[in-house]
């Protein structure tokens, strides 16, 4: 079935962004499909509209000095997700966070996790080789996979194994010997804290200053005395390779192009792509200088991306599910406005935390992927436990005193108080399509919540919306984007 322009643009927003909100639809419709693709994919030229620094959410240590904690960082990213005007940039950053999965459970330093997150974002749509090399030299990654303890004569295989198994080639495309030899190439790699004063650690204030200015706090360090300069045999080549050489060999490997092609397609389109799709994307990887943006353009220009097999057939991950709803209800924008108007950073913290917590309960805790392989996708997002959490997002949104409860009154205050009208308006608001029988169930839920009253007092609005959304969030249709 041929999609309308409106359907095409909402599909783009669901896949390249975090859902189609009414205001985004209104903005993108006049640009047309091509214009929307251009603005979403070439996002550098778009003002992100997000200027909150993580230090705005920082706390203080017991000496009264500023300290950035992981909790603040999680809220900061959640706020960026629910407000950004560059949704693809964040969707890609999340994709790479899953691919080059590093968890704060071990790294346990917010400035280090922030720098890792920034590095992912900066390289999100550029060259895969640049990203791979940046990741291999990133302090959080080095710490996470123990490359700082990988030294000449006593190699630690952790990074060498995962870089081949998970980040590039995939299992079965290298040998145990390759892992051991590659580990030698990465010996002596470490990091240090940057400091303006020689051999002095920066003070908490100085670190806060660096973060506020957007400067890196850590830098890569090659400890030459601990680096193994001997000859290594890796993937059929022999030489005095170092870590950069290994990254180069891995990025240029055919299997890497296929790994990245498959994962990108599965993240943005659908699971188990046809072999021809992998072949095409793999070719674009090499022809296009390993540029991720070129692969993305190929994905959205593929017929399959617009096919029945794709549109509204991908299981929403917790970010797709949660961030979309927050954006559609305008919660992020309202929070930012309250923060800017009142000059109070905390005004945005509550909604950001609630979005982050909802994602966490659905199985995606930002900055804490379950292990180095990242999260499992697709059906793995769906379990009885996570379905309960998806349903409960409605409860969390419309409880007393929440941001959405205030919105609810104004929403329903403007509409006629008929159950069918209310349901249609709510479905439109969250870009949902349901079968006729499910629409009846939702109308039923609406009536139950209003105790059969014809005229709805505005005070009942939150409860009514909560009931309709509870049922909608439980419906099979709403789990797909």
């Amino acid at each position: 079935m041929e999609l309308t322009k409106e359907q095409k643009i909402s599909h783009l927003l669901r896949r390249l962004g975090f859902g189609a909100s009414l205001s985004e639809m209104e903005f993108f419709l006049p640009l047309g499909v091509e214009g929307t693709i251009d603005r979403l994919v070439v996002y550098d030229k778009v003002d992100e509209g997000f200027s909150i620094n993580p230090m705005d959410f920082a706390g203080k240590n017991k000496n009264g000095q500023p300290v950035l904690r992981i909790q603040s960082l999680m809220a900061w990213w959640a706020l960026r997700l629910i407000t950004t005007a560059r949704p693809l940039q964040e969707k890609l950053t999340l994709f790479w966070h899953d691919h080059f999965a590093v968890s704060a459970s071990k790294v346990n330093q917010a400035p280090m996790m922030l720098q890792y997150n920034d590095t992912l974002r900066r390289n999100a749509s550029g060259s895969f080789l640049d990203l791979l090399q940046a990741m291999s030299k990133d302090a959080a990654m080095i710490k996470w996979l123990d490359n700082d303890t990988n030294v000449k004569g006593k190699p630690n295989e952790n990074f060498a194994r995962e870089v081949m198994e998970l980040f590039t080639l995939g299992i079965g495309n290298y040998t145990e010997k390759d892992v051991q030899e590659a580990a030698r190439a990465f010996t002596g790699w470490g990091f240090r804290v940057r400091s303006a004063r020689p051999r002095k650690r920066p003070t908490p204030e100085e670190i806060a200053g660096m973060i506020s200015k957007g400067e890196p706090v850590f830098e890569f360090q090659l400890r030459t005395g601990l680096h193994d300069t001997g000859t290594k045999a890796i993937l059929g080549s022999e030489g005095n390779f170092d870590g950069d050489d290994v990254c180069g060999m891995l990025a240029a490997h055919k299997e890497t192009s296929r790994t990245i092609a498959r994962k990108l397609w599965e993240w943005f389109a659908y699971e188990n792509p046809e072999p021809a799709i992998i072949d095409k994307l793999s070719k674009v990887y090499f022809d296009g200088g390993m540029q991720i943006r070129k692969m993305l353009m190929t994905i959205v220009e593929s017929d399959q991306f617009w096919s029945d097999k794709c549109v509204r057939k991908l299981i929403k991950n917790p970010a797709d599910f949660t961030v979309s709803i927050y954006r559609q209800l305008g919660i992020g924008v309202a929070a930012m406005k309250a923060m800017q108007d009142g000059g109070r950073q905390r005004a945005a913290l509550g909604p950001a935390r609630s979005a982050e917590t909802a994602m966490e309960r659905q199985g995606m805790k930002l900055f804490y992927p379950p292990d180095v392989a990242g999260w499992d996708w697709g059906k793995a997002w769906i379990s009885s436990a996570t379905m309960i959490e998806r349903i409960k997002v409605a409860d969390g949104l419309f409880g007393n005193g929440t941001a959405a409860a205030a919105l609810a009154s104004s929403l329903l205050g403007r509409s006629r108080s008929e159950s069918e009208t209310i349901v249609d308006m709510l479905l439109h608001l969250v870009d949902a399509t349901v079968s006729e029988s499910h629409r009846k169930t939702l109308v039923d839920a609406c009536k139950e919540a209003s105790d059969g009253a014809d005229q709805l007092p505005r005070a009942m609005a939150p409860r009514i919306i909560e009931s309709v959304f509870r049922a909608l969030f439980a419906s099979p249709e709403f789990q797909f984007c």
């Binding site: 459970s105 996979l145 123990d146 303890t149 990988n150 030294v151 004569g153 006593k154 190699p155 630690n156 295989e157 952790n158 194994r161 198994e165 299992i171 145990e176 057939k313 299981i315 309960r361 199985g363 379950p370 292990d371 180095v372 392989a373 499992d376 697709g378 059906k379 793995a380 997002w381 769906i382 379990s383 009885s384 436990a385 996570t386 379905m387 309960i388 959490e389 349903i391 409960k392 079968s435 029988s437 499910h438 169930t441 939702l442 039923d444 839920a445 139950e448 009931s467 509870r470 049922a471 909608l472 439980a474 419906s475 099979p476 789990q479 797909f480």
Partner: protein
């Protein structure tokens, strides 16, 4: 006596199984139970409960069950080796990590069996593949359904499905419980069960919105099954679970919190036969000593309190706990004060109905394979033993071949 023997021989030929096919269903059920009881050992009971506890990340077997008197152990682990005088000694060569006092006590009272050297052919050192191998019980090729999922499918076919027969306490369902037909609910915590269902209307609407079954295997069907199994389990458990008040105190660590809820489930849900829990943090590539000690300490305290609570409920003889990890770790320590991915490791079993003690030869550290302890017992032998001698299943059918049992029951 002679009658018994004759009967047993008769059963062994499988004749009654054939007879059972023609017999009325209730008789077939009895016949089937008899076959299992007599031919495979006498511990099977319809009320038996299996708790599976997964150690994610690859637990260091050599620093859990320690060959404390082996000079080779000292040579391989000059800094990470646990001092001989602090080891909780089980015999003249093997002992437990000093943080494992609870396990030590269970071992001494005969409520713990430790199967040594468990692994599988061509050990895989990838976390993900090796975990998948353990969860699907197939080292040869990827398998769609888990080993417990296949067992549950088989049970469901025999008509004994119940929405809470198996439960995982985890946010995401592990591959071990993935089944073709049986839907296993998982809950992040038991508190979730009590908070979702308000009034009957709300449950009705949540059920209605699931609509007619989507095609089997489809993504929509997965959503329907997950929601329905949540609703079914909740309406079954909702009344009972919240009323239970335990008098036992568990630690605040992951194992303390998990076993506390397992006890709550077993105390209140008589139809539950399988509970699956998982704990992480075992991937100790660097600075292992403190981290590993904390994990073992938390687990050990939790399992001891749990078994005590089971005894107080009169359930100690009805529960078997099986602990596993995807692999052990390299025999030699690395330069980072940690250990890399290895192969064989011991498996721990707990319960009041076990034949306690150490099973199988001690690790031979002078004779390693690529730096790892060699396996001598296939993990599927342990699974088969539990399935056949505890759960009353037929492992040979489930696994496609039969595995020699290990002497734990």
């Amino acid at each position: 006596m002679s009658d018994d023997l004759t009967r047993r021989d008769f059963l062994r030929t499988g004749a009654i199984v054939a007879l059972g096919l023609a017999a009325p269903p209730w008789l077939a059920q009895i016949a089937r139970a008899d076959v299992l009881r007599l031919s495979k050992g006498g511990k099977i009971d319809p009320d038996n409960i299996l708790v599976v506890c997964q150690f994610s990340g690859g637990n260091d077997g050599l620093n859990t069950l320690i060959p404390w008197s082996d000079a080779e152990y000292r040579r391989l682990r000059p800094s990470l080796g646990v001092a001989a005088d602090s080891v909780l000694k089980l015999d003249e060569s093997m002992g437990l990590h000093p943080a494992m006092d609870g396990v030590f006590q269970l071992f001494k009272s005969g409520n713990a069996a430790i199967v040594q050297g468990v692994g599988y052919p061509n050990p895989n050192r990838s976390h993900f593949r090796s975990m998948e191998i353990w969860q699907t019980a197939n080292p040869d090729k990827p398998e769609q359904y888990g080993w417990l999922g296949r067992y549950l499918d088989d049970q469901q076919q025999k008509g004994s499905a119940n929405p809470v027969v198996a439960i995982e306490l985890n946010r995401n369902k592990s591959a071990a419980l993935k089944a073709k037909n049986a839907s296993v609910p998982c809950f992040a915590s038991l508190a979730d069960i009590q908070s979702l269902l308000g009034d009957p209307d709300s449950e009705r609407i949540l059920r209605e919105i699931q609509a007619n079954d989507a095609p089997s295997g489809s993504d929509s069907r997965a959503v329907q099954m997950a929601t329905k199994s949540a609703l079914d389990a909740m309406s079954e458990l909702n009344k009972s679970v919240g009323n239970y008040k335990s008098t036992y105190t568990y630690g605040s660590d992951q194992f303390g919190q998990a076993f506390k809820q397992v006890a709550q489930l077993i105390a209140t849900s008589p139809k539950t036969r399988i509970v699956y829990i998982a704990g992480g943090g075992f991937d100790t590539h660097s600075r292992q000593a403190g981290q590993h000690e904390a994990l073992l300490k938390g687990f050990s305290a939790a399992i001891k309190t749990f078994m005590d609570e089971m005894s107080s409920l009169g359930k100690a003889k009805k529960v078997t706990v099986m602990v596993f990890s995807e692999f052990g770790r390299r025999a030699a320590e690395n330069a980072s004060g940690g250990t890399d991915h290895g192969a064989a490791a011991p498996m721990f079993l707990f319960g009041g109905n076990l034949k306690g003690g150490l099973v199988g030869p001690n690790p031979d550290l002078a004779n390693l394979e690529r730096g790892d302890v060699k396996w001598h017992t296939d993990f599927r032998q342990v699974y088969a033993t539990i399935l056949d001698q505890w759960m009353g299943a037929d492992s040979a059918t489930l696994f496609g071949k039969s595995f020699e049992h290990v002497a734990v029951f």
